[in-house]
């Protein structure tokens, strides 16, 4: 179904209904056969039911994957980033064999060759700083200096172009010498503003940028083909749509780094709060802009620096929550569903996140290590919730342990609807028998 012409005039809940219907009706997707189409519709329906906090026909089960599909298939983690044939085969085998209720994105792993060309410094990735069979990991550093908050606040795009990106991509370091593009004004200004692009080292950086663009285009084309093939041949919907971030995590994760952002609340609290407000606008725009009409109407947030272990409830209320809530409310207004992945634990924040300003049935909360009984107590009837099946059990436990834990979680959490099952942390390591037991147990569960 095409996007209604009067979409912008709809209320937020009408927009949400229209988006959900477009996703469920899979506009533009041709399935392998009628049976797969029906399976897609069934899965999209049970996922929609839990988002709306209803009791689904059966509890949906998802697998949050890291590099596990490649261990399972028998290729390296590096292959996932460099060999798209193996990427496709591994992801297809994983989905075919385990059949979760939604697609785990093959786009999670990124184009390794583009990173090579760019001399990407922000991460170590398999075979580049960490062993070939190890997942990628962030190289935290102060990529934004403490005295640069004002430059970032003044013009985030200019700051990214001339300060931040030249630091995280070695190949783009020459761009740090460029003047701001706002210099290009009247005719006499153009020559002096433009000659920099004739300098050999700047041209070299731009050539690398073009090459990285080509390599990324090749990658995203392949990723799209792999994903479409999994959706159409297996009848699995996508459940994660666009991406966004908590505003404080923008400087916190990859610009200032964890230690520095936690110190900034003492050393430059006003600038930190201003940065959160500025990033709220950017993150709302990113979430809305990247939401595809035919895709799931969810916007996924991996939440980091607001976890129990990183700050007090009072600091969470002051520094983390207001700007995050602003982004969430902005998305909800557009008929989008903020899909919050709480990494670490939020045992001390459940009272705060269940904010009465956030309408019931408009968000999804996926927990890593939060106490799920408390989650249910706080979130039941307000939002869909999931998670905290320990990844440790899938790797180091027995089939019986997995089944017992699964059964207990289902008994404790699933009875009233609004719940789906998923492992707590993204899965890099697992015993396949355990993962089968996990999926099968949930599918067989009768509430």
């Amino acid at each position: 179904m095409p996007k209604p012409a009067d979409f912008d005039k709809l209320t937020p809940s009408q927009k949400l209904e229209a988006r959900l219907a477009a996703w469920q009706n899979h506009e533009g997707i041709e399935f392998a056969n009628k049976e797969k189409e029906q399976e897609y519709r069934f899965r999209a329906q049970i996922l929609t039911d839990v988002v709306k906090m209803k009791k689904p026909a059966r509890v949906p089960v998802l697998i949050a994957t890291g590099f596990y599909p490649f261990h399972y298939y028998g290729c390296s983690c590096r292959d996932a980033m460099y060999d798209y044939d193996k990427l496709g085969k591994a992801m297809t085998k994983f989905h075919t064999d385990f059949l979760p209720d939604a697609v785990a994105s093959p786009g999670l792993y990124g184009p390794g060759r583009a990173f090579d060309v760019l001399d990407y410094k922000l991460y170590h990735w398999p075979g580049h700083g960490v062993p070939e069979n190890t997942s990628y990991q962030c190289n935290e550093a102060e990529y934004m200096k403490p005295n640069e908050y004002s430059d970032f606040l003044k013009d985030p795009t200019d700051y990214f172009l001339r300060f931040y990106l030249p630091r995280v991509f070695g190949a783009l370091e020459p761009l740090s010498a460029l003047p701001p593009f706002t210099d290009l004004q009247e005719l006499p200004f153009v020559g002096p503003g433009m000659f920099h692009f004739g300098l050999p080292h700047i041209q070299d950086a731009l050539k690398k940028l073009l090459k990285a663009g080509e390599l990324s285009l090749e990658w995203i084309t392949k990723v799209g083909q792999i994903e479409t093939s999994i959706i159409t041949s297996l009848g699995l919907p996508k459940f994660q749509g666009a991406f966004s971030k908590a505003p404080l995590d923008v400087p916190g994760d990859t610009m200032r780094g964890t230690k520095q952002i936690l110190l900034d609340k003492f050393r430059r609290p006003k600038e930190l709060l201003e940065a959160c407000d500025r990033c709220a606008q950017l993150m709302l725009d990113m979430g809305v802009r990247n939401s595809m009409w035919v895709g799931p109407p969810t916007v996924f947030f991996p939440l980091h620096k607001g976890a129990d272990s990183f700050m007090s409830p009072a600091d969470f209320k002051k520094y983390y929550w207001p700007s995050l809530k602003a982004v969430m409310l902005g998305l909800i207004k557009e008929g989008l569903i903020p899909f919050m992945f709480v990494e670490g634990s939020y045992n001390q924040r459940l009272d705060i996140i269940t904010d009465p300003d956030i309408p019931a049935g408009t968000t999804i909360w996926y927990f890593d290590k939060t106490d799920m009984k408390e989650v249910k107590k706080h979130l039941q009837g307000w939002a869909c919730f999931s998670g905290n099946f320990p990844s440790s059990l899938l790797k180091t436990g027995t089939v019986d342990q997995v089944k017992a834990h699964c059964e207990q979680l289902l008994k404790d959490l699933a009875g009233d609807g609004g719940y789906y099952m998923v492992n707590g942390a993204v899965l890099d390591e697992a015993v396949s028998e355990n993962l089968h037991a996990f999926v099968d147990m949930v599918k067989a569960y009768k509430a």
Binding site: G66, H124, G129, V130, P131, T134, S135, Q137, N139, E140, T258, K259, L262, L263, K265, F266, R267, S309, F310, M311, S312, D315, G344, P390, S391, S392, L393, K395, T396, G397, A425, L427, D428, E429
Partner: protein
């Protein structure tokens, strides 16, 4: 003892703490007494952390203040005996296991162990099992701490414990694990002695193992 300095550190007034330390040194106060003051303040902060009254940002800032006061004091005590330092409760060899480069949890646990009287030998991140074995041989610690953030750390933790066993060192140390995706289940898998859920748990475990309440 300067109550003013202790209060500034405990109250997280970084600039004041450094200024007070400078003034004390300029007015001829024994430099070593400033370190005692910092220890006192860190003890109070550690207790507040254990009680859930302060959090990781406060520990990080406290560490920063200690570093800055230490840098002021250092040139004035070079050559002097630092006899004021209390006897250590024990030694802990600590590191993030092979393949994992996360250091935040490791640094916080190490800081809390030091604040609570332990000598910590920090092996850094992405530490191969053989390096743990070497460090245990060289430093003869009572405790080994294995840190890891991701599920990829499960096997390196297991391998490290096994390497210590193969080197005949397993019975000489107690081994604790901790970090993002660790739990009791992983401790059993790795054949470690215990899992610590946070920095205070690491302190409690270590104190128990060296026989201190």
């Amino acid at each position: 003892m300067s109550k003013e300095l202790i209060d500034a550190v405990v109250d997280m007034r970084e600039e004041d703490a450094v200024k007070i330390a400078e003034n004390l040194l300029n007015s001829g106060t024994d430099p070593l007494s400033l370190l005692d003051d910092c220890r006192e303040a860190l003890g109070i902060i550690g207790n507040r952390f254990a009680a859930g009254e302060c959090f990781v940002p406060e520990l990080i800032l406290a560490g920063e203040m200690l570093r800055q006061v230490g840098a002021l004091v250092k040139p004035r005590i070079e050559g002097k005996s630092s006899g004021a330092a209390p006897k250590k409760l024990g030694k802990v060899v600590f590191g993030t296991v092979e393949g994992d480069i996360h250091d935040i949890a490791k640094d916080i646990v190490e800081f809390m162990l030091e604040v609570n009287g332990f000598e910590v030998i920090d092996l850094g991140v992405d530490v191969p099992a053989a390096k743990f074995v070497e460090a245990v041989k060289a430093h003869k610690p009572q405790v080994v701490g294995l840190s890891g953030f991701l599920t990829l750390a499960y096997d390196p933790m297991k391998n490290t414990v096994q390497a210590l066993k193969d080197a005949g060192l397993r019975d000489s140390v107690k081994i604790m694990i901790g970090g993002g995706q660790m739990d009791d289940q992983v401790a059993a898998y790795a054949k470690a002695d215990a899992y610590g859920k946070d920095a205070m748990a690491a302190v409690t475990l270590s104190k128990g193992w060296v026989g201190v309440k």
